[in-house]
Subunit: 213 residues, 4 copies
DNA sequence: AATGAATGAGCGTTCATTCAT
DNA sequence: AATGAATGAACGCTCATTCAT
């Protein structure tokens, strides 16, 4: 994250790409592409550099090591997502609708960038240690958001009280996650966001208090 | 030529040597242990061999390459699981109960062997290609089993017809899967099977036809 | 020092060199040659391997890392020297003669293997840390030997008591050491052992009690 | 063109830029500090630049390459030392006293700047080639000074004629050198100059003609 | 079938040096 | 004169795989 002060601005003399330091971003994008294609451990830093159009050594001007590239990519994606999610959820009040909105965002975000989706769904879990650390640092916030919505719903009497909020959040996230993985692995092209309603429907029905008999 | 009868069945993952041999199994167990501990890419074949008590070269008498060890381990775990699942499900008729029974088995199987769980939940996803191939070859059967139960439920009028059986299966599997991942990553020790009822409850309620108003 | 059990014996089928594990020694010799030529930091392991006639990776079968090669070479040279020194000194009683004998051995040992001499005189001192550790582990024994001879001389009244044994040992070693360095750096070829008498003469005179006036 | 007058004298080790510049000196000091701490090969130019408070590239305005920094640092230290030595020796006539004075200066100079001492005693010897070139260019003068004193002593009949002046100089220098190395490596703090008398005593006694019996 | 020494391609990373500004 | 981002060659080391025994 030690983003070197970009030497100023893009000059004219540079063929094709802008000179200076959207290089950070170029490396990040290249990394996601190469990792998505080959997996983290089969993604040589040299290939990432090549795709980013920089020298091997340049990568290390922007990232401490290979792992940090992946970390940075994931962190950014998640931070962006959470920020957007929190913002959009402010305009929705009903817990059911909030879960629905969140699922749409989840799907839209990943559908918009399939390579990123591959990385998040698959490469993220290369090793227990990596995932564990990651989960604790970033994913936990997403979970907390989900749990807070469910809790709110329970307090309002919209969701059943006899469902552990933690378990419900797990099921909700797990269902979304599996849908994405399924989509990522599928050869057939289909709209992921279009699935949101069905999924949320199923889960919300599972959680809601019966409109009593 | 004192070739000791190389015992029968050879699957794709198993060349020249005996699949049933005791060494075969020892290598498999060692592989799961080492991979669970360090991750697939940080699991040297030499360490697997060491733990299995065989020479490095011996591993290659039983497996074509490193990837095939992981493949074989997973294949066996899944085959065993599916076999047992099919058997146990024969004694249950009600679709809801069948889903419940399946979830219990899912959790029990993995809770009984945490190392295997780590491998299945995490190491499985080293690369999109790997996972894709794996999914298509083995996981698809599990999915088909789940889907057939749901379909049966729909046909009997126990589950709503307006839920895509495919999506429902995804949600069901995703929820279970996330519960397991959560359990694997958790430091606190708790009973995974004990969670089965709550999870199935949530999902079954989401799928069932309302006991009409 | 983890010398792999050499797989048995030299077979006939091997062209030129013996098959198996004087490889350890070959690598050591190659290392000394390459380091003497280029200096430790400019001595690629790959060149050492090449000169030893083994693959790069093989080096690491015999040595934990590059530093350990240098360490092993030096340790062996010093151990051999000290062993021989102690043995030969048993046959000499007079302290003055013992110092003389030791100096001869010192010079002979290094003159017999100029490359080793280069390594010991020069490469040994690449870094303060390296040298410090080395001195404390190996050189200290040599110093102790020298000091014990001087002390003995003092006790017998052959050497002056008003000279710190430690300082005298430093001067003695320093003089020998400088002679060797001088010889190593000199382009002109001359006999190092031939210098021994003159050097020892100077130092012994400096230490001896005057045959009283 | 606002070229600030690039001040006069340029030696071999100093290209384009000013040798007398303040930055030049800052780089030199930084280099000695960093090299003393980490060794020449583990002393990144970037760290030297950082410590000197200049940009990486600036270093190359003052020095042709990394080696030249070390060269220049050593050259300056030796030049300064020799200049001072020659001056101080003008006030001493007796060869024995001159050797004593020289040893004191030797020890004082290095004791006054431990980092420089580390560099001179240890880092100087990174490679036979480096040391050889260095010896021939700078150290030789020091040796000549020592030899001239000894020769003078011999001519005056103070020192024995049967000692090669060259060997005697080697022993003298070697003894001093070893004392310094010993001091540099020692953890215990002690006064190096305090050792001068004892060392010189030993050597001078070794060289002097007996006050005849 | 079993061994394990040997291989060598491949990788992550460092750092002296350059050069456009 | 001064900068510091960029370069890319070079290196130490690992490890999947082979093969002579």
């Amino acid at each position: 994250m030690k983003r070197q002060a970009p030497p100023a601005a893009e000059s004219s003399a540079t063929p094709g790409a802008a000179r200076s330091s959207e290089k950070y971003q170029r490396i990040l994008d290249a990394a996601i592409a190469v990792i998505a294609e080959n997996g983290y451990f089969n993604a040589p830093v040299s290939r990432i550099a090549e795709l980013a159009g920089v020298a091997d050594g340049t990568v290390y001007l922007y990232f401490k090591n290979k792992e940090q590239i992946l970390m940075a990519a994931i962190e950014k994606a998640l931070t962006t997502f959470l920020e957007r999610a929190r913002q959009e959820l402010q305009t929705v009040d009903d817990p059911k609708q909030r879960l629905r909105r969140l699922a749409c965002l989840h799907f839209e975000s990943l559908a918009a960038n399939r390579e990123l989706a591959v990385v998040l769904q698959i490469e993220l879990r290369q090793s227990a240690k990596f995932l564990a650390e990651f989960s604790h640092r970033y994913l936990v916030e997403y979970f907390n958001l989900i749990r807070s919505i469910i809790r709110e719903g329970q307090e309002r009497g919209v969701f059943r009280q006899d469902v552990s909020e933690k378990i419900a959040a797990n099921c909700y996230f797990g269902a979304l996650d599996e849908m994405v993985t399924s989509w990522v692995l599928s050869e057939r092209e289909y709209s992921l966001p279009a699935m949101a309603d069905a999924v949320v429907d199923l889960l919300v029905r599972g959680m809601e208090t019966r409109p009593d008999v």
